[in-house]
């Protein structure tokens, strides 16, 4: 489901720091779907998500010198992206109302693939809706954990939160989802 973490992250860093022109392009190609995915799940709007994802890569490009390398490159990118999303959601800068049917439909149509579009089921729509309706602090944890597959430790690192907070927020969000998706549970 998810692209495997690029095993050659250190090499990425070396190439980037050596000023290799193609290195940044490779980095964007490798991580574009994950960064864009987090932005889209959080913002519910493809245009905004693209804007934020692009900004995340540009900030990463500028801050490569500050990246210490003690975390995974992907974790660092998730951290930049998550911060940008949460800041945007918190600032009243948002141009579109995130909640409601419109935002969900935009989310559902964000990146339709022909094979997926036809199979998009009621369950899929309900899942999208349920995630979109989660409070922001719980939604980011669910997105990072259940959709992006990060570990609790990585999520704590990305969001700069204590491990216990990550755990409790995730549990609260999952319980919320369970209640909303009850009719789909056996």
């Amino acid at each position: 489901m998810r692209e495997a973490e690029a095993g050659d992250a250190p090499r990425f860093l070396d190439r980037l720091r050596a000023g290799e022109a193609a290195a940044f392009e490779d980095l964007v190609m490798t991580y574009q779907h994950r960064v864009f995915g987090v932005a889209l799940r959080m913002l519910g709007n493809a245009a905004e998500a693209q804007e934020v994802a692009q900004e995340a890569f540009i900030r990463a490009h500028r801050a490569l010198g500050d990246f210490r390398g003690d975390a995974k490159l992907s974790t660092w990118l998730y951290a930049i992206t998550s911060r940008l999303c949460l800041n945007r959601l918190a600032s009243g800068e948002r141009r579109l109302v995130r909640q409601g049917e419109d935002a969900l439909l935009r989310l559902a149509d964000a990146a339709p693939r022909p094979d997926v579009a036809l199979e998009r089921s009621e369950l899929e729509a309900a899942l999208q809706r349920a995630v979109a309706e989660l409070p922001e602090d719980g939604r980011i944890v669910v997105v990072l954990r259940d959709l992006e597959g990060l570990s609790y430790e990585e999520i704590a690192q990305v969001l700069e939160l204590p491990l216990g907070t990550v755990r409790s927020r995730l549990h609260r969000a999952r319980t919320d989802l369970k209640d909303k998706l009850e009719r789909f549970l056996p």
């Binding site: 489901m1 998810r2 940044f24 392009e25 964007v28 190609m29 574009q32 779907h33 960064v35 864009f36 995915g37 889209l40 799940r41 493809a46 693209q50 994802a53 692009q54 890569f57 540009i58 490009h61 964000a110 990146a111 693939r113 997926v116 998009r120 369950l123 899929e124 899942l127 999208q128 995630v131 669910v142 954990r145 259940d146 959709l147 570990s151 609790y152 755990r167 409790s168 995730l170 549990h171 999952r174 319980t175 989802l177 369970k178 998706l181 009850e182 789909f184 549970l185 056996p186």
Partner: protein
């Protein structure tokens, strides 16, 4: 461990994110609590559902856009962004500027006699053909230079309204208008350059009389046409008026000029005017215009040529008069300016 405590850890339990000791406590609780087992099962299924959410893919071209945006712009492009407005702002500004420059140019031209003077030299050339066109119809040997009064008569229909306005303005804007008698011998051209050409022809009938003498019938026709409308009695103001195309207008305007300019010395101006009116009526003439000045009453009359001797005789009874200017050959309808003073 209570159900509440156990359920708080169930998510981490599913993810195997609990410490062994914590996991053991949850296991113990689940073994004895069916409700919490059902809760655990529901949570597992929920997490399994979430795994089915389709992954999102970035739009096509995203990488190119990011690369383009990340590439530092050359210094000159950044400088251009700062210095130059975007096109949506720049275009309206440029259009506005062009319009304002145009308006300013027109305004300056209309307000500056020097500019109009500079534009003059081409006007005589453009009008040169006009007299030659008119000459055959005029059937007179008068030089083309003297043509303006006749030339203008066909064009009067077009310029008539403007002429009336000009006439009214010249009377309004030149309060101490010199008397025609004084204007005739000494045209007193104003400082404006067009004066030397226009003033003598328009203001002073005397100089014209020499050259227009043989053109009696044409002049009369022009005069008859002009009788139906008011005209400036004293047009000295016109020569000073800095119209952009003063020579052109002068050529077109061609008002009927007085055939005789007379000053009449009277004791009682009002009484003399009444007598004059009676005399004019007696000889079958008419008063074309009347105007009071500070020191004189000016009457412009039209007298039939055959009755002109009778009119002259009657005028002698009104006061001591003398002709200040006059044509050698008088037309059928003589336009007389009488200055009672």
């Amino acid at each position: 461990m209570t159900c509440h405590e156990a359920r708080e850890w169930l998510s981490a339990y599913i993810d195997e994110a609990l410490a062994p000791e914590e996991r053991g406590r949850v296991d113990a609780h689940l073994a004895s609590c069916a409700a919490c087992r059902r809760e655990l099962a529901s949570l597992r299924q929920t997490v399994a559902l979430l795994q089915r959410v389709q992954p999102v893919r970035a739009p096509v071209g995203f990488v190119d856009r990011v690369i383009a945006a990340a590439r530092p712009r050359p210094w000159y492009r950044r400088a251009a962004d700062v210095v130059l407005f975007p096109l949506t702002v720049k275009l309206p500004l440029q259009v506005t500027a062009a319009v304002m420059v145009g308006l300013l140019a027109v305004y300056l031209f209309e307000r500056s006699p020097e500019l109009q003077q500079a534009a003059r030299p081409e006007t005589p050339r453009s009008e040169a053909p006009a007299p030659s066109r008119e000459r055959p119809a005029a059937t007179r040997p008068a030089p083309a230079v003297q043509a303006p009064p006749e030339v203008s008569s066909p064009a009067r229909g077009v310029t008539g309204e403007r002429d009336r306005r000009d006439a009214a303005r010249s009377q309004d804007t030149a309060p101490p208008a010199p008397p025609p008698s004084a204007a005739a011998p000494t045209p007193a051209p104003p400082a404006a350059a067009p004066a030397p050409i226009v003033a003598p022809r328009e203001v002073g009938p005397a100089p014209e009389a020499k050259t227009e003498a043989p053109s009696g019938n044409v002049g009369a026709a022009a005069r008859q046409e002009a009788e139906s409308r008011p005209r400036a009695f004293d047009r000295s103001g016109e020569t000073a008026r800095p119209a952009p195309a003063a020579p052109r207008l002068a050529a077109k305007r061609a008002r009927p000029l007085a055939d005789v300019v007379t000053s009449v010395a009277v004791k009682d101006r009002d009484g003399a005017e009444r007598e004059l009116a009676a005399l004019i009526a007696r000889v079958g003439g008419s008063v074309a215009e009347r105007r009071s000045e500070e020191d004189a009453t000016v009457v412009e009359a039209l007298i039939p040529h055959p009755r002109y001797p009778e009119f002259s005789e009657g005028l002698t009874r009104i006061g001591s008069w003398q002709v200040e200017a006059g044509r050698p050959a008088l037309p059928a309808q003589i336009r007389v300016i009488l200055r009672l003073q």
